[in-house]
Subunit: 452 residues, 2 copies
């Protein structure tokens, strides 16, 4: 039985797919954080590479991947293989066929380099000398640090203090690639100083680290900023995953009935899903799309589809998205990449209009699924990815009840080798499930700005 | 320019290559630890799978890889890609072409699963219920734990106490796969109790952990033992690396002038080198073979080619090999996989007869090479592998002096994601170089048994 399909280097996609070409209606415009009125993309040029800003608003169906980016993709693990989980299927005794795309097989260990490489490349071309960014669990920070090393750009990373202290290996990995890493809140920015004054041991948050990275950027010449999820151009770069997977599923002679992935900002799942969603939007397929989020941060399952800030410091434009509120305090789940109050606007529109559904799990049930996966398929997935594994297993078990040989494809977005503490806690029965109570959620939802 | 060559799943080799078919003379027989006389392979059947014992003494040129082993290889990352290090070449400004084989791209992160999978498979077929083994840095232990999970065998690992305490993530990884992991020396064996009585905080050693694993095996029914390097059948299983690399170098249309790898017991290097050595032994090529060891454990560069015990507890047969003596106290270098007093007998014969040379480096210069490699090629290699990188870079720099466009191939035997402490120490200037003084070396060499 076929269990693995690989593509040759020359089969690496030549284009990213842009979902904005096919969305049921145009995305609502971002709003200026001061006036709360629609804003033009120009101010974004102070932060992002010009090419990325153009991609952010482009409605072209395909955008060419530059040759130097393709070469870096090639060097760093692309095309990535697609596997069939025959041992997991046998363990579950399900008639369903489970497939997974491997995005862990690059030196940074997750899907993040797909956009980090592209962003660093465009910045190198445009003469940027230094990039700032934020990181929570550290997957994004390591991907950008690695990409900056490849394209000769200095890199400064604001890492949430809790992760900085708990994950020294992630910090070292960024330093191996030559990046400067600061615990956030740091004393280096005004916003950081403000939060440090309130609490010298402030654990930080992704939203706060974003505020610090942006402030560092706009107060230093020759410095730009890079974001690892949520934005259209970031999701665009990730579609190299789904473009490859489309070809690989054809090689398996299978058509997915379900496509599953975990969502923090939404980029890994969009990367796999959107090229398949294109077929659905064009009414050529009726694949079901299931996004999986943590119960601890239930943006799409318990949040609201509204305009909200993308950061805690209220410095970013407002975007229309599912959000639990930008003041929501994300609980310290191990899947740090899922600790974000909002989700990507394009994905939120697709959920709102019923093209995609979502489901939430606690980290204990997700990590149980991850251990089952490790003992059957061999791969130790990231705590974020464990949510996707749990989602896929649940669908496979429903197929078992109904005796349906459905085809399930999920995104194995990263490995868990730098997150083994999550497994240790799970094995030792120390993993805590977090779910916000109504009052807590109500409070943070109430702080979302009212937009006319 | 071509930078990556991949093989399709159907190109996975169907045979391992057995160097014993082509060695310049038969290997000297192992000696009984009691009588110091040549011993037959029968007593090995109490420890190893029957099939492995037969492979240990086989002189067949090729040995078929069972289909279930090939499927597991496929699931766990084989065939592995072969890359050209064009960015490292450019950085070094060398006319040499540098290639590397990626053995880090499986869930255990090193070459070790190539034999762990095969050994676990044969044990499963032969009805073994439980396997014991030792591990130092943890690469071998994780590979065997993963393989036992795949084939439904219980797994007990004796991990040197120093590594057990310093590398909790490696321990957790083994536990994720369901293994029982004990700090060695443990109170579970007589030999462990003996060393614990001398020092309750004894840091352990690989040789001592071997003694404990063997004692556990021979004192428990249904239990067998598995070794991760040194022996002929282990090196045999690793030749899947070189069998793939032979094809991949043809696809690159290049013939290696130098083949480089790090040696602890010798298995990763043998795995890459022996299929190419076959050509040299048949006088079809004049490739140079360079084995790299740490100055801290200079078996082949300062040791003697003599019969010695394979373990500290003097329980194993004696083998003729380069050794610094089985009582040699290996300094605590980060490349734990290189902390072994002896080397594989077949490799030692090839070195002794001049078919292969060896060189030694300190860990600081090796880790400098590893950081250069990470910042150019992107991959963060294991501290063990850093020695191979250093070896390859030194040859490339000699090529630069002579303006020779030689072809260098090295084995990227494992990633360093669970060894980032080595990088942290290097970056912070805390890495210590160890080199035994003459008196220390003389003492351990004097304790090698005299054999008529």
């Amino acid at each position: 039985m076929r269990i693995k399909v690989t593509l040759q280097p020359e089969d690496l996609p030549k284009n990213w797919y842009n979902i904005q070409h096919d969305l049921p209606e145009p995305l609502p415009p971002p709003l200026d954080p001061g006036t709360l009125k629609p804003m033009s993309p120009e101010p974004l040029l102070r932060l992002f590479a010009k090419e990325c800003v153009m991609q952010e608003v482009s409605t072209d169906e395909y955008i060419p991947i530059p040759e130097e980016v393709r070469e870096a993709y090639l060097r760093l693990g692309r095309p990535s293989p697609l596997y069939r989980a025959t041992r997991l299927e046998a363990y579950l005794k399900t008639p369903a066929k489970i497939f997974y795309k491997r995005e862990d097989l690059n030196p940074a260990g997750s899907h993040k380099p797909n956009t980090a490489i592209a962003q660093a490349y465009y910045h190198m071309k445009e003469g940027t000398k230094r990039l700032t960014t934020e990181t929570g669990a550290g997957q994004w920070g390591s991907a950008l640090a690695m990409s900056c090393a490849l394209f000769g750009i200095d890199c400064t990373v604001y890492m949430t203090r809790s992760a900085y202290l708990q994950k020294p290996y992630r910090r070292t990995l960024m330093e191996v690639y030559g990046a400067d890493v600061h615990a956030s809140p740091s004393g280096l920015t005004k916003v950081g100083q403000k939060f440090l004054a309130q609490d010298p041991n402030h654990p930080g948050s992704l939203g706060l680290a974003i505020s610090e990275a942006i402030e560092d950027c706009v107060t230093h010449d020759g410095t730009k900023y890079s974001l690892g999820s949520v934005l259209n151009h970031v999701l665009l770069h990730q579609t190299v995953i789904g473009q490859e997977a489309l070809e690989q599923m054809k090689m398996f002679e299978e058509q997915p009935d379900y496509i599953v992935g975990c969502i923090g900002g939404g980029s890994n799942y969009a990367g796999l899903a959107y090229p398949f969603m294109r077929e659905k939007l064009k009414k050529k397929s009726d694949t079901e799309f299931v996004a999986v989020e943590p119960k601890a941060v239930p943006s799409t399952t318990r949040g609201q589809y509204r305009y909200d800030f993308a950061d805690t410091g209220e410095m970013t434009p407002l975007m229309k998205m599912y959000t639990v509120g930008h003041t929501y305090q994300c609980p310290p789940i191990h899947g740090g990449g899922l600790r974000y109050h909002g989700k990507a606007p394009s994905m939120c529109m697709l959920i709102d209009k019923g093209y995609m559904s979502s489901v939430a799990y606690n980290q204990n049930e997700a990590m149980d699924a991850a251990i089952t996966f490790a003992r059957t398929e061999g791969v130790v997935v990231a705590p974020e990815t464990s949510h996707a594994v749990k989602g896929a297993i649940d669908i496979a078990l429903k197929c078992k009840e109904k005796n349906e040989a459905k085809v399930i494809l999920f995104n194995l977005s990263g490995h868990g080798l730098l997150d083994l503490k999550a497994y240790e806690d799970k094995i030792n029965g120390k993993l805590i499930d977090y779910s916000p109570d109504e009052a807590m959620l109500k409070e943070s939802l109430a702080k979302i700005p009212m937009v006319a």
